[in-house]
């Protein structure tokens, strides 16, 4: 049995595995080399694989994304790190106008097998611009995949899959749970499927749908509710775009009730899309309106107020109960 590791260690393990098994894989970004990344996700990689495979870049996010596109067009598999998702915005033109479309606009002549990793979300008392959850901005873009792990094992298996995927993947790492829980992760090179939800807990009364760091609170809420004889199914969406509609719809069809839990603001969010999907395609199975637990539609507050912004277990339990009480 392997030793239990944290999510950030699992990311490191997956990167090392792919660097070892595929000479086209390179890691690049700000401080990913000697420093091993500000969260140490790339610790030790430069020592093992050298500066040609683990590249400290100049401090320029647009460049990191654009460079990765050029490398990917040559058949390399760049895994680039955006130090924080709050700094991804200069790279959006490269991601949206080029990475997401290179295959489509060349009818497959050129492709863009790159991964862009970024830690995201609140809860670690970080400075301004370090705590937002803007996954919906990217989930809106055709041609991209947006993948969010919620445990060490899923971080390992999904990152392997992302690196091996022939198309661009935005891999968002919920930093609040980078070191929260440990889990044994075998370094066996086995990828997990992309574009698939993970059903983490089965239940018949209501479907709880979440992703990223909020999966932790969602599972805790489900555990507590079970002691009250309320049995929730818990689904980790994992790939927020493209969506695994099938798993979501069949669960909701089974339970008839659904609550979506996300850290991001509610307006035009991934939760909005899932909610409308369920309304469009499972209306007759629904016994109550889709419930939503989310961040406020405000600017992410500075860290003294961030815990008042982030949803908690109680919020989830209450919304579940309201949804169950709906006639």
């Amino acid at each position: 049995m392997s030793d239990p590791i944290t999510m950030v260690e699992a990311v490191n393990l997956a990167l090392a595995h792919e660097l070892r098994s595929d000479s086209n894989v390179v890691v690049l970004g700000e401080d990913v080399g000697v420093n091993g990344g500000v969260f140490r996700a790339t610790a030790g990689l430069r020592e093992e694989f050298g500066i040609k495979r683990v590249m400290d870049t100049p401090l320029a996010e647009t460049m990191i994304a654009g460079l990765s596109i050029g490398m990917a067009s040559q058949g390399m598999k760049p895994v680039a790190e955006m130090q924080f998702m709050g700094f991804i915005f200069p790279a959006l033109e490269q991601i949206i106008c080029h990475a997401a479309r290179l295959r489509n606009r060349t009818r497959g002549r050129l492709t863009c097998p790159m991964v862009l990793r970024a830690p995201f979300g609140g809860g670690i008392r970080a400075p301004e611009h370090h705590s937002e959850s803007t996954e919906a901005l990217l989930a809106h873009i055709p041609g991209l995949r947006v993948v969010i792990p919620s445990s060490p094992a899923r971080a390992y298996g999904l990152l392997l899959a992302a690196i091996r995927n022939p198309d661009p993947v935005i891999f968002l790492e919920p930093k609040r749970i980078y070191r929260v829980a440990k889990q044994p992760v075998a370094d066996n090179g086995e990828a997990l499927p992309l574009d698939r939800c993970f059903t983490l807990r089965e239940g018949s009364d209501l479907t709880l749908i979440s992703w990223g760091a909020m999966v932790k609170e969602t599972l805790e809420a489900a555990e507590k509710l079970a002691t009250e004889d309320i049995h929730c199914e818990v689904i980790d969406v994992a790939t927020v775009s493209p969506l695994d509609k099938e798993t979501l719809l069949s669960s909701v069809s089974k339970t008839g009730r659904c609550v979506i839990v996300q850290e991001a603001p509610r307006h035009c969010s991934v939760g909005s899309e899932i909610s409308s999907l369920i309304s469009e395609q499972a209306l007759l199975d629904l016994q109550a309106p889709v419930g939503r637990v989310s961040g406020y539609d405000t600017v992410m507050p500075y860290y003294k107020l961030e815990n008042q912004y982030l949803p908690n277990v109680k919020d989830i339990m209450e919304t579940v109960k309201q949804t169950l009480e709906f006639a």
């Binding site: 460079l67 067009s73 040559q74 489509n104 050129l110």
Partner: protein, 362 residues
Amino acid sequence: METVYQGEIRLNRYLDKEGTPLQAIPQWACEPGWLTDCYRNMVLARALDSKAIALQRTGQMGTYASLLGAEAIDVVCGMVMRQEDVLIPYYRNHASQMLRGMKMEEVMYYWGGDERGNAAAGAGEDFPNCVPIATQSLHACGVATAIKARGEKRVAVTMCGDGATSKGDFLEALNVAGAWQLPVVFIINNNQWAISVPRAIQCGAPTLAQKAIGAGIRGEQVDGNDAIAMREALQLALDRARDGKGPSVIEALSYRLSDHTTADDATRYRENAELKQAWEVEPIKRLRNYLHNNGWWDETQEQSWSQEVNQMVQRAAENYLASDTQPVETTFDYLYAELPDSLREQRDWAQVRAMQGGSHDE
């Protein structure tokens, strides 16, 4: 105080506007072979340009970006690069694209609203046209990073306009190219106009080439209307990059003899006198004069090549006009390597809708 750095930017030119040598001509340009080919290609590029504009004006092609006035720059680029090099163009590179293997009708596909123009097998690993300004400069650095990482003797060549040098992407590209000494060549087609904004108010620096100095790489200006100067500069830059001696910036001075695109009307912001003056120094006439003066090209050749070129362009236009429209499902089929399940329903519906004749303009 001590001077810690001093830089200089030099401008090279061999021919005056009449095609008369201003300095000793390089050996290769003292014989007709390469230069006559270059001339033929420039004439062909201009003929394609006129045809594309005519197609646009008659509603048979979409908005088109002309390369009128940039023929020497782009043809030399297409001729001097090796096949194994990689071109990362902007949107005025039809000539180099053709010379590197794209068919003329494939160039037309792109401007005719059909992605298959970018799919041209002859384009190899070259990037397709790039509309978002200067973003391609970074792709060139990525290609060059891959080339360098693999220890190959290839070069990434990218082009942009004068306006693009104001963008962060261009400067970030120069910066990383210098920091990593990448095998990349940046050609700036300084045609003096970024749509309606003239070079004088685009940037406070006296030259655009000097932006290279800030990135620790070599930069120079050449007369982009002078094919000999253009080849000398590009050959040197390519050789250096290929030999691991790092990147270069070539600011090629030209003049946009056309509107920005067919959707633009330059008479709104540009003096006719300036345009007239620019026609005096344009690249095709200059090279023709030089060839003429050396007895390498005469009126008979001119006429017969002109006829041949017009036929080639006409055939390409006919092929372009005869092309079918891609089926609507192709909109889905190249989005990812495999169609995600979530898109199946939309794809199926798009096909049904198309079969029923469904269209926005029905």
